[in-house]
Point group: C2
């Protein structure tokens, strides 16, 4: 039957299994490049597949889209208040297309990223969205052996992976923010950020440096502190910078969780935001909007990036021959009361 129907419809993995006289699960394993397959079985199934003129991509896709209609979203750290915006975006897109969304939380620990990716693959989700804790090296191996489409959010891709990705242009918003401070006369502008190997961090730093260059100013490397996105790092580094002999008149915080620590340092030193120093953060969270004075920030449409990630994943599942895609979304600076201060205020 498989042969007689060959010209009128797509050849399925079931047809291949029948023609090779092997179990459906065995044929599936061969056709999805599952490692646990004997060489004899592999030869037999591939010969049958070639005889029937099967299309491997389509077969793999059919296997994937079979019945689960579930996307897995691996979240680096749900403690980060912007995580829920990524998730809501992905969830709304997925739900509108009839897909459910399962989540895992890696608690900011790269080692948990790989565990959680394994958990998704064992639970057979159709596609995976990754918002990893670091640059993704931990998940690299797991992702390579996976047969489901993946979309990576705001991180460089593991080398050799063929996932789609959604990036932000973090440099542009940070360039605007730094320019805003320099135009108001600030020269001692400190930057506290995460580890430079993370794409968002290096992007932000590039935007900061470019603003100095645009104003024909030299960057003072002693005012740049990178290493971690954790609040404790923000507290230590802000305190060190603000207690130095030539304290910054403006402080740029390259991450919303760092901001918590930086504010603690500012309170420790009895300094007032917007009076004793100018302050810029990243992302729009409750604290930037509701702190008094409100805190200027480099913002982006996080919800939209989640939506696009889910759409890219579903596109891979439902359409033929979709190439892997990269989407770049903007960031921009929102001036609030925390940058109203002039650089002479504290000197």
């Amino acid at each position: 039957m498989a042969v007689s129907d060959k010209t009128s419809r797509h050849v399925t993995v079931k047809d291949v299994a029948e023609a090779a006289n092997v179990a459906l699960s065995s044929a599936s394993r061969v056709l999805t490049d599952h490692p646990n397959v004997s060489e004899g079985m592999r030869q037999r199934v591939l010969a049958a597949a070639e005889r029937l003129g099967y299309e491997p991509d389509l077969v793999a896709r059919t296997l994937r889209t079979g019945n689960s209609r579930t996307l897995g979203f691996l979240v680096a750290d749900l403690d980060n208040p912007i995580s829920s915006s990524f998730i809501r975006g992905a969830e709304d897109s997925a739900r509108a297309r009839g897909y459910g969304l399962l989540l895992t939380n890696s608690e900011g620990d790269p080692a948990h990223d790989a565990e959680n990716l394994q958990l998704f693959l064992r639970r057979r989700v159709d596609a995976i969205i990754l918002l990893t804790s670091d640059s993704g090296s931990e998940v690299e191996g797991v992702l390579e052996s996976s047969t489901v489409p993946a979309v990576v959010l705001d991180r460089d891709l593991p080398s050799g992976s063929s996932a789609s990705s959604v990036f932000f242009d973090h440099a542009n918003g940070m360039h605007e923010a730094t320019g805003h401070l320099l135009e108001r006369g600030h020269r001692q502008v400190a930057f506290v950020g995460g580890p430079e190997e993370l794409r968002p961090v290096s992007d932000r730093l590039a935007g900061y440096v470019r603003a100095f260059q645009d104003h024909d100013l030299l960057v003072d490397r002693s005012l740049i502190s990178t290493g971690s996105l954790r609040p404790a790092f923000g507290r230590t580094e802000a305190r060190r910078l603000l207690e130095s002999d030539t304290p910054p008149t403006a402080l740029i915080v390259g991450g919303n969780q760092l901001l918590n620590g930086v504010l603690e340092a500012i309170h420790d030193l009895d300094l007032r935001v917007g009076e004793d120093l100018a302050l810029v953060s990243c992302d729009d969270v409750d604290l930037t909007r509701l702190y008094q004075p409100s805190i200027s920030s480099v913002v982006r449409d996080v919800y939209k990036s989640g939506q696009i990630a889910a759409e890219l994943a579903i596109e891979q599942l439902t359409e033929d021959d979709v190439p892997v895609r990269t989407v770049l979304l903007p960031t921009w600076f929102v001036a609030r009361d925390s940058t109203a201060v002039m650089p002479t205020a504290r000197l």
Copy 2:
């Protein structure tokens, strides 16, 4: 074979299926009380089961614990910053016991709770932890037909369900907070909270009322506003109360998301927290700790409740004859700068 081995090993559902001459899936359905079973089939399988001396609890447990080692955690609303503490607690307990944790987000919409519960059941998680958006009526039907253990966090159980639960004594912390304000001389103490049918809300209100009674004071119902935990409700109601002819000198906010709206109202009216009015919130979030002045709050160990929920779930999966359990955790008041104000300040 099943019969000959009867004395030396546990009777399995497969033995029962063979003895009854029915499919394994049919025997499973009968033995797990699945609704979709004909009466004839039920009688036949139960007769075979009795003949072989099977132990139904053990069978059901074996079916459940088969291989997934995954807990599902249904989260009402990841936008709520305390959600991640519930999750971290559950995750750490689950991981320590070798279980993975899958999450879903209902975006604060009770209709999504039932969908997400279905998603977990389809993906065959071993047990489910529920932090639902409302009192749970939406999930009631789904939960009734489910055969996996469930643990409910901080919500009344759906009627007729046999889940374990972890509650907080919200009344006690709110009683302390209200007493603190009354002892400082506040009499016009407003309360803005969620819908009274939610257990945490009615608990908090009970603690508030009890503090007035303890001080031989009458409660002014016009200062109580309940209905929603959303920020927009907090903003509208705080504004209405603060603009009235006899504005409150202290405002208690019964939910951390309400606080965002309440602070917006206070800023709208150019009032200063801790100077023009005393303010109390619930739960410890970035905003309560880092707002200037810091905001007094009724707090609880959210992380611990997540840990206990996962432990109760795993206990049901791994131990014999564990009764359904209810755990009650405390709440308490933490005084900060926002309640340092005396009631005469604004009058």
